[in-house]
């Protein structure tokens, strides 16, 4: 594959996605160094302008200051929770898919399926009450809530690959279980996971924010982006920045993250060019390694 043509838009897109990611990530990583630990409530509530470039929130705090501080928890708790959910649920799902015993599969998946229909709200309420305001507890809960769904998703995606001759051939070569699991099945799961992860993070951010509404989770005055969006929602028309700025950060983060994942995991640019070239349906390639 020497044709450079399809590569350019892809690289461009990757750059675009990276740029989208860069802003929220930078804000999350370096913002806390720039902003004071506690954003002083020194302005009028929901004021626009007046020394505050992005106005103030309902407590009269500088929105920019909040924005700079609110990244780590907003991104950290949600991404951490989703990562953990994938770690737990993913391994469970893979193991269930790979087990050649119906019983093992059942033993692994049934408990998970009992948890699946538990309303997240109820669980969050209970945990939130027990360990009020501790990000770790919230992350763990959100992870636990997501793990069953992830397990099911991963299992379904891996099941076909697990029964394929490729998996058999690997076992015939004496490959370790984990390699079959995380190598072959993992890779079969990857596109599904990539499609899922970003939306799940976005959902997790707002599950955490929603937990706040119920008076659980984080302090309603915390600078967390999700919390700020939720807390200022009423002022959407009065002081739009208080809602839009943190929401924009979250949107940029999830969109950037997902586009990047799409790009990295599905080298579909060829498919795109082929489609443009008028082929009815494009065949995605397995690229020979360079």
């Amino acid at each position: 594959m020497t044709a450079p043509a399809p590569r350019r838009p892809r690289r461009l897109l990757a750059t675009g996605a990276a740029l989208l990611l860069a802003l929220p990530l930078t804000a999350a990583l370096f913002g806390p160094l720039l902003a004071p630990l506690v954003t002083p409530a020194d302005g009028a509530p929901y004021a626009r302008g007046g020394g505050h470039p992005l106005g103030t929130d309902g407590m009269g705090r500088d929105v920019l200051g909040l924005l700079l501080r609110g990244g780590p928890s907003a991104l950290g708790v949600a991404t951490g929770a989703v990562a953990l959910a994938y770690l737990l649920g993913g391994s469970l799902g893979l193991a269930a898919a790979a087990s050649r015993h119906k019983a093992v599969d059942e033993i692994l998946m049934r408990p998970v399926e009992i948890l699946l229909p538990l309303p997240s709200l109820l669980v969050i309420s209970v945990v939130g009450v027990g360990w009020r305001g501790q990000p770790l507890a919230i992350a763990l809960t959100v992870a636990a809530l997501n793990a069953p769904a992830v397990a099911r998703l991963v299992r379904a995606a891996a099941l076909d690959a697990a029964g394929s001759p490729v998996a058999e051939a690997m076992r015939m070569q004496g490959e370790s279980r984990s390699r079959v699991l995380f190598g072959l099945l993992g890779r079969a799961v990857l596109p599904v996971a990539a499609a899922d992860i970003g939306t799940r993070i976005a959902t997790a951010v707002f599950t955490v924010a929603a937990a706040n509404f119920l008076g659980l989770g984080m302090e309603p005055t915390s600078a967390d982006w999700g919390v700020t969006v939720a807390g200022s929602r009423e002022a959407l028309l009065v002081q739009p920045w208080a809602v839009c700025a943190p929401a924009a950060m979250l949107v940029m983060f999830t969109v950037g993250l997902n586009l990047l994942a799409d790009r990295l995991l599905a080298p579909a640019a060829e498919a795109g060019t082929a489609a443009r070239a008028g082929r009815a349906l494009a065949v995605r390639t397995q690229k020979a390694p360079k």
């Binding site: 309303p119 998703l153 976005a202 959407l236 579909a268 640019a269 494009a282 995605r284």
Partner: protein
């Protein structure tokens, strides 16, 4: 297939039973009880104790659970601790609106997600795909309540095209006012469609490179048919799994939607019940929702079983 379905159906019953215990424990782990919550800010300890005794909350946990499950076996869901009326009444009141809403959403979500997912998958890498992906992702990253408020601000308050809430809507003839459904369903759809269509996009990409799709194309199966009959079944597997999960997603979304649009539904009832520590109502509602979720899961499993028959060899 039938045997499989039967076995799964039985398992679902067991799951429900376990779930009942879990939910009971969870709700009783919440601080405060129905009596305490009932008098929050308004009454003293004496009255709270009296109410507690009257509601039977002073009895041990096990005894209360035994009572509750015993009654359940006779088809009695008990009496609400908050409203002192039968839980069935609460269920009946709240169920209609939510089910209607969920049904309309479900009827729309699948075709929409399939069309969008296929479109993105078939045009992967093109500008259309990127634009659609970005818009859909942005929609999921927007919290429901912001989306809902923004939609109301534009379509009801500014343009006046659509009703902003269900306040005053007659629950009897909701269906005669389709306009009522537009905004709530739009909010509910936003996230679920995105979740699903992304899975279908991923599945489509995978299916497109599969040998059988290539061969079908080489045999001149026309594009539309190829997509629907050859690409889609394979592409749908993760999507179906995702659909099974949208139950909880929807419940979360429904909560916001019900609040913003004043829809008296199950999600609101559930939150109320949790806040009121109204254990019988929480139990009944979660069991009901769980039963629905399990049913959807069961259906999803059966569909996947059919879509990936090769897995049968394994098991």
């Amino acid at each position: 297939m039938l045997r499989y379905a039967l076995r799964r159906g039985l398992l679902t019953l067991v799951q429900l039973a376990v779930l009942a215990v879990v939910v009971f424990l969870l709700t009783s782990m919440l601080p405060g009880d129905a009596a305490e919550v009932a008098f929050n800010e308004q009454a003293g300890a004496v009255q709270v104790d009296e109410l507690r005794a009257r509601l039977g909350l002073d009895r041990p946990l096990v005894e209360r659970f035994a009572d509750w499950s015993g009654a359940l076996l006779h088809g009695d869901l008990g009496t609400s601790l908050a409203g002192h009326r039968p839980v069935t009444g609460i269920l009946a009141d709240s169920l209609a609106a939510t089910l209607l809403l969920a049904a309309v959403t479900a009827a729309l979500v699948v075709p929409l997600a399939v069309v969008l997912g296929l479109l993105m998958g078939l045009r992967a890498g093109t500008r259309l795909d990127r634009a659609l992906s970005a818009v859909l992702l942005a929609l999921t990253s927007l919290p429901d309540f912001v989306l809902a408020l923004a939609l109301v601000a534009v379509f009801s308050l500014r343009l006046g095209w659509l009703p902003s809430t269900w306040v005053g809507a007659d629950s009897g003839d909701l269906l005669r006012h389709p306009a009522l459904f537009v905004l709530p369903v739009a909010v509910l759809l936003a996230r679920t469609v995105c979740l699903l269509s992304r899975q279908i996009r991923a599945g489509t990409l995978a299916a497109l490179s599969a040998g059988y799709v290539v061969q079908a194309r080489r045999l001149g199966v026309p594009r539309g048919r190829l997509v629907l009959r050859h690409v889609l079944p394979g592409a749908a597997v993760p999507g179906v799994q995702e659909l099974a999960r949208t139950g909880d997603q929807l419940l979360g979304g429904v909560l916001v939607v019900e609040a913003v649009f004043a829809i008296p539904g199950t999600a609101t009832a559930l939150v109320d019940a949790v806040q009121n520590r109204d254990v019988p109502t929480v139990q009944a509602l979660t069991l009901l929702l769980a039963a629905l979720a399990l049913l959807v899961n069961l259906a999803a499993d059966l569909v996947c079983h059919r879509l990936a028959p090769r897995t049968e060899v394994l098991r």
